[in-house]
């Protein structure tokens, strides 16, 4: 039977504080995104125009479809840019607070490092380092638990993909030492 009292409680020791100051407003990010999209639209539009964006005897040339899509994308981002500039003066909605940015970076930077390390040490070693490191330093979980979880998860992945299903992942010196 169900019970009325709260039974499951999970704490979040590194949670972002609610009153953390804003780093950047949504309006500013919208302007930046629209500018980037506009630049992308111009680059792709130019490339497609070069490829050929008109009609020949058999219908549209290869660049025709994407060229007009670049025009639409450019138009949409231009509209978004103007809308964001107009709205920017009154509202300043927070895009991300300091505390939130810290937490997001706490995932993003390790993920970036993981992708980098993978190039040299292979996916499995990088996975082990990512999971163990993240649990220990971001999650403040006991070292032995972190190492054990990371080892088990990586081992399960290795057995599933490399041994059982023959899905080949990037490998590094450690796997080579074991002859795999």
């Amino acid at each position: 039977m169900s019970q009325t009292d709260i039974e499951i409680v999970v704490d979040d020791p590194t949670a972002p504080e609610d009153d953390s100051p804003s780093v950047v407003s949504s309006g500013t990010i919208e302007i930046v995104v629209c500018l980037l999209l506009l630049a992308l639209a111009v680059t792709l539009g130019y490339d497609n125009w070069r490829t050929g964006a008109s009609w020949d005897s058999t219908g549209p040339e290869p660049g025709y479809f994407p060229f007009y899509l670049s025009v639409i994308l450019g138009g949409g981002s231009l509209y978004g840019l103007i809308a964001a500039l107009v709205a920017h003066r009154k509202a300043a909605e927070t895009f991300v607070t300091h505390a939130q940015a810290r937490r997001v970076l706490a995932v993003f930077v390790p993920t970036l490092l993981f992708c980098l390390v993978m190039q040299f040490l292979g996916l499995y070693v990088a996975s082990f380092l990512l999971i163990a490191g993240f649990m220990r330093f971001v999650g403040k979980i006991a070292l032995w638990k972190s190492l054990l979880t990371a080892f088990l998860f990586t081992a399960i992945m290795f057995v599933t993909f490399d041994v059982a299903f023959d899905v080949i992942m990037p490998k590094g010196p450690l796997e080579a030492a074991f002859g795999r």
Binding site: V33, G80, F108, F134
Partner: protein
């Protein structure tokens, strides 16, 4: 009934130990990602997709669709016990579900949610069973102009009927279509938008983009929030289940109404979110005591859950029959079909009977098995939330990376995935919808091919899109839908003047 015979054949395909085990694994994994905060239907399917790459298509789709059903079931657990909607379409479930849990009726609310999910899906699957073969055999007569018109209709209805700011939908869709065009042009063989980079020659893989957009970005978004939880624990006894089921006939109008709304909004790209709110609001409006809603009324759980699941399931109808996904998750499943070497579209029903009917049969079986599974294992799954997110997050990142790399064995795709993760995070935060992007990326090349083949066939005149009644009405409808907000405004103004 031909459909019935084929369906029985589908069950025969399914009833092997291997498939049944995969089904259970899929459901358990699905409930797992459904319960985890911030992850749900499309994210779960995107993250777990790589597991299916080496399977045969039937096993793969069975497992993937079970992951999806599981995620839908799992979403209800967190909504009711923790007042945390795992997905936007579970928001309406919290209105009455959480109050019920507070009153000590959590088991009842959960049973109601799971049962109505099951009923909603069942109605939608019945619809798919009988309607999909008919639509697809009708669509076999389609030529390139008809297909282009249908694609146009899909794109236009997203812009016209979506609730996001129109320019943001247009940005998202045109960006998706553009990225889909990168690489070798399929009609002429020319290279487009590759800027001399050998990596871009292959084009941007849809699934790599999806894994970044839905997997990596979701981790970033989830980390922003406070991940502390307080909730009720519940286990469901047989007595409660039977009690709720005994009362079901009393609510048949609500269940039927919500199923209908869900199916309708699932096939058109209205989606499960709109369906769940509409189901809830209509149940409230037609109730004898509407003020008792929001205080723990069981109908308030039945109505949105039935509608959301009917919608989520019926979104697969246009995907199977026409090769056009009705939702983000359906788009990801469609991407899966391509990886397994199947060509989505009406020919699927002719060329891959085993696959299609196996999938439809798995929808029936998956829902029954799923219902039993969630009813018996709720306490275990609720305690998944005790697993710290700091352990789950890096594991999800690793799964995403494995998936992104496995698709084409390319290191470049790992970086693409990371890039799309950042794009997804920023887009979600500034309200650029991801569903049109996903849809455009997966359909872009097919839409363009259909357009250019129509042009080659017609000698380059746009009149081909009005050359017969069928293609003409679809094209016209598409254009009407594109400008629907304007038309609605005009009609409203005329009506207002007439009323004066």
């Amino acid at each position: 009934m031909e459909a019935f015979g084929l369906l029985l054949h589908g069950f025969a395909v399914l009833l092997t130990w291997k498939t049944l085990v995969l089904m259970m694994v899929g459901l358990v994994l699905g409930i797992f990602v459904g319960v985890l905060p911030g992850l749900g239907g499309p994210n779960g399917v995107a993250i777990l997709l790589p597991l299916t790459f080496t399977m045969d298509p039937t096993s793969a789709i069975v497992m993937l669709s079970c992951i999806y059903w599981g995620a839908l079931f799992g979403g209800a657990i967190t909504s009711i016990l923790f007042n945390i909607p795992g997905e936007a379409w579970s928001v309406a479930t919290t209105f009455d579900g959480y109050p019920m849990a507070q009153q000590g009726r959590a088991a009842e609310a959960l049973t109601a949610a799971f049962t109505s999910s099951f009923i909603g899906s069942l109605v939608a699957v019945l619809l798919i069973t009988f309607l999909a073969p008919m639509i697809s055999s009708f669509a076999l007569k389609f030529g390139p102009p008809e297909f282009f018109a249908v694609y146009l209709l899909t794109f236009c209805s997203f812009v016209g009927l979506g609730r996001e700011a129109k320019h943001k939908t247009i940005i998202s869709m045109s960006l998706g279509l553009l990225l889909a065009g990168i690489g070798m042009d399929t009609v002429s063989g020319n290279l487009r938008m590759t800027f001399g980079s050998p990596e871009l020659l292959r084009g941007i893989n849809f699934l790599v983009a999806v894994i970044g957009l839905f997997g990596i970005s979701e981790i970033l978004l989830t980390m922003e929030e406070r991940l502390a939880l307080r909730g009720h624990a519940a286990s469901i006894s047989l007595r409660v289940v039977l009690g709720v089921w005994k009362d079901l006939p009393k609510y048949w109008v609500t269940l039927l109404r919500s199923s209908f709304i869900g199916c309708w909004l699932g096939i058109t790209p209205g989606g499960a979110i709109a369906a769940s709110f509409m189901g809830y609001n209509l149940a409230k409006r037609f109730a004898k005591e509407p003020e008792s809603f929001g205080k723990g009324r069981i109908e308030g759980v039945f109505a949105p859950e039935t509608a959301a699941h009917a919608s989520g399931t019926s979104a697969l109808l246009p995907m199977l029959a026409l090769g056009i996904p009705g939702s983000g998750t359906a788009a990801i499943l469609l991407g899966g079909l391509m990886v397994w070497g199947l060509n989505p579209g009406p020919l699927l029903f002719v060329e891959h009977k085993d696959f299609v009917w196996g999938l439809i049969a798995s929808m029936y079986l998956g829902n029954v098995v799923g219902l039993v599974l969630v009813l018996t294992t709720v306490p275990i799954f609720a305690s998944i939330l005790r697993v710290p997110f700091a352990a789950v997050a890096p594991m999800i990142v690793v799964s995403c990376a494995i998936g992104a790399y496995a698709i084409q064995n390319a290191m470049f795709d790992i970086w693409l995935m990371l890039g799309f993760g950042v794009v997804g995070y920023v887009f979600k935060k500034i309200g650029i919808p991801l569903a049109p992007f996903t849809l455009a990326l997966v359909l872009g090349n097919r839409a363009e091919d259909a357009f250019r083949l129509s042009m080659i066939g017609s000698g380059g005149t746009l009149k081909v899109f009005w050359s017969n009644g069928l293609v003409g009405s679809i094209t016209t409808l598409a254009i009407v839908l594109l400008f629907w907000p304007l038309i609605e405004g005009l009609l409203g103004r005329v009506g207002w003047k007439a009323a004066r």
